[in-house]
């Protein structure tokens, strides 16, 4: 994560960007329960798309299908034009509960993806150390996960995902288990990351503010069975700098609008 606050000009979000990931008519049933129905969605390259919806709307299921961890009952997922049949080197996953190996050091955890890819020890530790530094954890290479705070643990999870240099980053509510201040810092860092790394981000969240704050595109999912009800593309406030977004009128309008459409689905 780049901590610098350099303001590179933001590319305007064009109307029909090419897609890094597309899901075509995805359905997923668990026995009699229909989790996803006929869901099609495009994820523009180099941008961050949020999957937003009330709990139980299948957003994590969709993300895991894209990751190749779950198989759809019908429909296909394409990443860079290739159909997904399982996990692949083009995608890296960031887990809600961090999923760090508690017996391994920060360095080994961050290098895990490279280890599975058969990268030699010296090289993978070099690369992992580089990304540990990127996410701001230098000095903690030999610490164990239980010695870190929740926020720091998720930074390790992020370093692990960045180290394998996948084009698509799949993030499953990555900031939901960290405290509010840390979460805000993460969101700012994430914006810089999207800007500086030429990667496609798919981001699951249940926080409306978070989705509007970080996303180029927000897909609102409604539950039982889950389908895309709306796609919102905030454009106006992206270039105004991280400090100004939260008081931008467009930001506030979009937050209100989304709440209005989700309100009736909250128990």
């Amino acid at each position: 994560m780049d901590m610098s606050q350099t303001k590179t000009p933001v590319q305007p979000v064009d109307a029909a960007p090419d897609s890094a990931v597309s899901t075509r008519n995805i359905s997923k049933t668990y026995g009699a329960v229909e989790a996803l129905r006929d869901l099609s969605l495009e994820f523009p390259r180099g941008q961050l798309t949020s999957l937003l919806g009330p709990s139980g709307c299948g957003k994590t299921t969709l993300l895991k299908i894209i990751a190749g961890l779950l198989e759809p009952t019908s429909g296909t997922v394409e990443v860079n034009g290739k159909t997904v049949t399982g996990p692949g080197p083009d995608r890296a996953f960031v887990f809600q509960d961090f999923a760090l190996l508690p017996w391994a050091t920060v360095l080994r955890n961050a290098a895990f993806g490279l280890e599975m890819r058969g990268v030699a020890r010296a090289e993978r530790e070099d690369r992992a150390a580089h990304y540990i530094k990127e996410v701001g954890l230098s000095g903690f290479e030999n610490a164990y996960p239980h010695e870190l705070s929740g926020g720091m643990r998720q930074r390790v999870g992020l370093a692990r995902a960045l180290a394998v240099d996948a084009q698509v980053l799949l993030m499953d509510e990555p900031f939901s288990a960290v405290d509010e201040q840390t979460r805000r810092k993460f969101q700012e860092d994430l914006l810089n990351l999207v800007r500086n790394e030429n990667k496609t981000f798919i981001f699951v969240t249940h926080s409306i503010e978070e989705a509007v704050y970080v996303s180029d595109q927000i897909a609102i999912l409604l539950p039982r069975p889950s389908r895309v009800s709306e796609i919102i593309r905030p454009t106006g406030f992206r270039g105004k700098g991280v400090d100004n977004i939260r008081r931008d009128p467009e930001y506030l309008d979009i937050v209100d609008e989304i709440w209005a459409s989700l309100r009736s689905y909250v128990e």
């Binding site: 508690p102 017996w103 993806g113 164990y144 705070s149």
Partner: protein
């Protein structure tokens, strides 16, 4: 205050041994020697080497039995934990074994395998194995799903998932199972020596009882309980040191 804890431990030991001493002096029973008599018998047996010789014999079936149970038990446990078919096939046997008073098998083992080392090893095995198998299999089954998913999403093969995630994640519980297995193994080893043929420490207990040398009998019993407790505490200390933080790393704050 660490001093208070230590002081109370010493006080607690002094109270129990003091009560033993007083009860022995009254005496509550002709077969109840005082603490000091028992201790002097213990040091006499340590001094003339008879206790050492006895333990060399007692520990044989215990060590052999525990090693066999550990290897077989962890192997079967991993297998049962990883495969639904084997879970269905084997789990019921070990669940029943865990609940059942397996000591009742001893007379049968003696009939089948005689009164030698084989029977005693088998007694240790049937006592120690169920808990090792059940702990291993449930530890394997309870590997956090997200850790396995993590490994798969980073392209681990099924073998890598087992070797690099499942087994290390399960090892604290497997180790705890081993410790419980050793504890049950001690029960088995002593039971074997008291029930099958008196050898080793069991021989000292049985023989000194038959000649009414109660201090020696109490000393032998005291020594085996002390040995078992010290060894199990050592295992627990190793466990704590080895797996420090292991269970805490993946829960969110």
């Amino acid at each position: 205050m660490p001093n208070r804890a230590l002081l109370l431990k010493i006080l607690s030991a002094a109270l129990l041994f003091g009560a033993w001493e007083i009860a022995g002096r009254i005496p509550v029973s002709f077969a109840f020697p005082t603490f000091l008599e028992s201790m002097s018998a213990l040091f006499r047996m340590i001094g003339d080497g008879s206790l050492l010789i006895a333990y060399l014999e007692t520990l044989q079936p215990l060590v052999v039995g525990v090693v066999i149970s550990a290897v077989l038990g962890i192997g079967i446990g991993l297998w049962v934990g990883l495969s639904r078919t084997f879970d269905w096939l084997f789990s019921p046997i070990f669940i029943v074994m865990q609940a059942a008073p397996l000591a009742a098998l001893i007379p049968l083992l003696v009939l089948a395998y005689g009164i030698g080392l084989t029977s005693k090893v088998l007694v240790v095995c049937i006592m120690a194995m169920p808990v090792i198998v059940l702990n291993t299999s449930s530890a394997v089954r309870n590997t956090p799903e997200s850790m396995k998913e993590m490994a798969r999403s980073y392209l681990a093969s099924e073998w890598e998932v087992i070797l690099k995630v499942v087994v290390p994640a399960a090892s604290p519980v497997i180790f705890a199972g081993l410790r419980l297995g050793v504890s049950a193994g001690f029960i088995g080893a002593i039971l074997a020596e008291l029930k099958i043929t008196p050898t080793g420490v069991g021989d000292i207990i049985t023989f000194s009882r038959s000649i009414a040398d109660y201090p020696a009998m109490y000393a032998a019993i005291f020594s085996i309980i002390l040995l078992a407790v010290l060894f199990l505490n050592l295992l627990e200390a190793i466990e704590t040191a080895l797996f420090k933080g292991n269970q805490r790393g993946y829960v969110s704050d």
